[in-house]
Symmetry: D2
Subunit: 343 residues, 4 copies
């Protein structure tokens, strides 16, 4: 079957590969939709991120949904023909973190399409995927696969929202509105935030988040002082979701979050300079959020029930054969919010 | 009466000043001991810190204790002759933060010996001090003034401990063991920490904290790999009190704190580079801690009851007339932990 | 002007009273709508609740909205003609609890229509009400007074939601769906609860909460085993809002909340028997929630913005002259959810 | 070997039993000390507690320490000759609670000497015990077995302290000072509580807790008003550890804990009447605490390091042959705090 393999920066190829054998607890999924994530893009544009570098060819992709076409002898939870979203996360279940209820911190995590370990964990941009039964989460037949493929990035945001504590009635700033930031806007709304302000340096994604529920969407490149008024009286926002990875954005966040407030940093980046004197004197909390665990099933539920409407974020579905065009498009934030592959 | 006035970096002078008049709710205190704090040193060595700069002569000092020698007509809580520790913090009591129970974040704070506002708030290194009744916290007559003068920095550490949540049974790293770091060791012990490791770049303060209860005290200049073993399995410590303000120390802390753990940053500094990818992927919490409020009374109680023994931290008491020598000595971390002035 | 005065159980009268004089910081409000609350009903039906008993005639009512018709000389925040919802809560602002950010626990609280202190605090069922400027919260002119008069009970539920921590993705049981329980359903939905089950012993209020968003609404009188299936595996719900004040309901809640889950008790009652062995062995949290503070302004915002739609809860608006009929109707849970007086 | 078997209330017998076979992951321990716990006493005095009843003969005991005399082929963590404290708790490791980091809530828990399941889980009052490797926690050779046998009840209290949040600087009431209450006093001290008041209805245990560190110890039978003064201003204590299981004690606790404070209920009992109106209006938290998990190892550490000194609680060590006398003595709170069996 066809798979999308990254060999090096800007070198992604559609190749043929054998389908792995099906174990007794495994499920074979005919993949129908696969979203391109920021980390996929990092591999495509830079060959990795931070100290994580491609060291061998790797199938990309970890945001997929499809149809079960075969099940192992021991599988009971899903049937052939079921539509499923696939959880790309496989914690070991045995390490200290797994046993302490923090499986997203698993010491032996296998996560689709990640070069963090060697050999790399191969990803899910394949026509046919073999996963374990527990990774295949049923979705309603009437739900579009393209919607279901948002379960993974939405799970990231639901997990980030949990890191922030109760958002009900809070004033929230979302800094950087790529797909994760846009989903953070939807999540904050779902959690009952009182007011949501979003910032970015491009007009197009700001227009989109304005349409999906941000109360204000500010272009901090065109109006560098756009956030200025929020810094009065030690700041305005209770919580910031920082999804840009930019030092300037973090510095701005530190100015406009109220004393005692929280900044949740989502998404990996490199070292960042932090205005520590303000963080200390305002007693801010800067907390990282990484992946998800039980939030995946819940994300599926939110999408399937319509509680969170992800559809406006989908820009285009590109055939696998045009994978290179898909990645180029996904990398152009003026034209693309979320690009998916049709597999 | 004599007061210690800083005019510019390295220019501190003993001058004569009138005692301010006594209001009906005020208390006049004959100051007997005054500790030199890190921020006093910053004014002396650099004329300020960060963006806070001396713009007019200012009396330094905010760690003092003494004897009440006169009280205003409306004062009921303290009597003439009472020994007191003086809380240098005067929140307005009316602003949003004061009303939300966060008076240490007061929007109109007056804090002794601080150039944050203009005119500067004059400090407490004076032979006679006039403060409000509520600032004068009674201490037992038999308690040394030099011990009582530790109430302020201890309150800083008790507040920081609260920022860290429950320390009972936790593994704690204290990074940087000047007076605040050393008091953080004592505080963590008092809070029931299971294990306390301290680091610094000088042997002398490490020797001291080893004596007062740190389980290990590591010289990270002489042994740059001293913390290495603690980074296995995503890290070892539940909580780090970062009191050095050094980017290298913060980077080391990020490596050795366990996933989901907390770093409490105490003490003001400038911008610091933070290894954000590790902070995010390990979902760490970096939180600032600033001053104190109700912890001052409690700090007095801890010192007076002997629950926390601060005496080993006192290096020398220097007469006010030798204030320049006192500051030079306080600035030499090899020779001095805490230097106090006899007033 | 006309006011509604309770003299004893079942003895409520419309009487004439002078409008109190207007102080410089006061606002005179022409009251237009006033909701009858459970505590109003307790005074009407039983002459009090628990140890709180009527000891003198008292104007009832604390859920009102109206139009500003005069302002004191020092008032700046509201103008004549402004529509307002009136916060019935007047904490002293000076006591320990007020200064610790818990003004709803004020040691000297004045709350409209409450016999907790003597002389009683007179209530707001009056044609004209004089309150302080800070109690009069502006509402949009186009918002119905009857909707704005829900701000007070909604604030109670928003406060209760905060007592429960983050509800995003939680499974919630609401036990007892009078007005407070019904508003708790709306609040849990607003806070992003994953699933909301409601119980009551009457069909009519259950029908209503089913229409406003409860996923299931169970009649535990007709089907005593209705909750049975939720007790498997130590329980199902993360959070219970217990708004019935019934020992049987609390015992049921204890069975169906998961180990480590929370029960938030809203509403005053007498002593209740608690199955303590289950509470202990499942390590449950039983927490009280009482009134509100800053949540009042936020409740106004939720109603005005349409984020929370309270209108379906309004059963009938009864003219003040028929106050007795209004109270009889309000006491009949089969016919009435929320009854308001037109003033 | 000899074992202590309860057949019915007041019918405990020393019997001979075969030592179970040793599995590859098992450890055979020559038991040297075994403390009699409140639940052991309940079986002896009443044949059970609450709905838990003896339905077959059961070896009692779950507070034991001894010497490893044989190890299975796969055991690596302990060697023959090692002194160990034995963790009586065997969670399944697989259920939802185990995987969420709450193994003390395991749905398939096996806990020594418990009649909660059928067949009962046999206990540890035996000369020779076979347990799994992970249950045998090494202790220093120089530590008395009688001290190590306190690890289990101390772990209960450390867990309860965690349920209470940070105790540093808190005012704590311990209500009921049997062995658990007395250990709660020690634990609160270790956690840095500012003030600890203990209550009971007997002079003897109160004398003991006064000696081990309670600031006050009040006899609420002799002085029913002893706690009265603590109820001023809505209450005084931040946290109550309720270890008496008495409705009167709980009602008193509700009066003297400050608004917003917590009551941690330790120990199983039956239904208790709770003054719910006060719990609600003061917004108290009533939380159960049940057993422990990782706190067992930590309890061993606290005892071995001398951080918590349990020795003053040991009243007498009674030979196994006199098991009946041991239980009678343990049941006499005037004469006994903790009674242990020498095995």
């Amino acid at each position: 079957v066809k798979v999308a393999v990254i060999h090096a920066a800007h070198d992604i190829r559609v190749e043929d590969q054998e389908v792995p054998p099906l174990g007794p607890g495994d499920v074979r999924v005919r993949v129908r939709a696969g979203g391109i994530c920021g980390s996929d893009l990092h591999y495509y544009q830079h060959g990795g991120f931070g100290q994580v570098r491609l060291r061998e060819p790797m199938i990309l992709g970890h945001e997929v949904a499809g149809v079960v076409e075969q099940i192992g002898a021991a599988v009971t939870a899903v049937a052939v023909g079921a539509h499923v979203a696939v959880n790309p996360s496989q914690p070991c279940g045995c390490c200290d973190y797994c046993r302490r209820g923090m499986p997203n911190q698993c010491l032996d995590m296998r996560f689709y399409g990640s070069a963090m370990r060697m050999p790399h964990v191969q990803g899910a941009f394949r026509e046919v995927l073999v996963c374990t039964e527990s990774q295949a989460i049923p979705i309603p037949d009437e739900l579009a696969f393209s919607s279901a493929a948002f379960a993974e990035p939405l799970a990231v945001c639901l997990h980030a929202a949990r890191q922030a504590g109760a958002l009900l009635g809070q004033r929230v700033l979302v800094s950087g509105v790529g797909p994760i930031g846009a989903l953070a806007v939807l999540t904050a709304r779902q959690a009952g935030a009182r007011e949501i302000v979003a910032t970015d340096i491009l007009a197009e994604p700001l227009d989109l988040v304005r349409r999906i529920g941000a109360d204000r969407a500010l272009n901090v490149r065109e109006q560098p002082d756009a956030l200025q008024s929020y810094s009065a009286g030690k700041g305005y926002f209770d919580v910031v979701f920082e999804a840009s990875g930019s030092a300037a954005a973090l510095a701005a966040a530190v100015q406009v979050v109220r004393a005692g407030g929280s900044i949740i940093q989502i998404g990996l980046g490199g070292d960042l300079s932090v205005p520590m004197n303000v963080l200390v004197s305002k007693e801010l909390t800067l907390r990282g959020s990484f992946r998800f665990h039980e939030e995946f099933v819940w994300a599926v539920h939110c999408i399937a029930s319509g509680a969170i409407k992800v559809e406006p974020l989908l820009t285009e579905i590109v055939p696998l054969a045009q994978v290179r065009r898909a990645f180029e498009l996904a990398g152009d934030r003026r034209r693309a919010m979320k690009i998916q592959l049709a597999l």
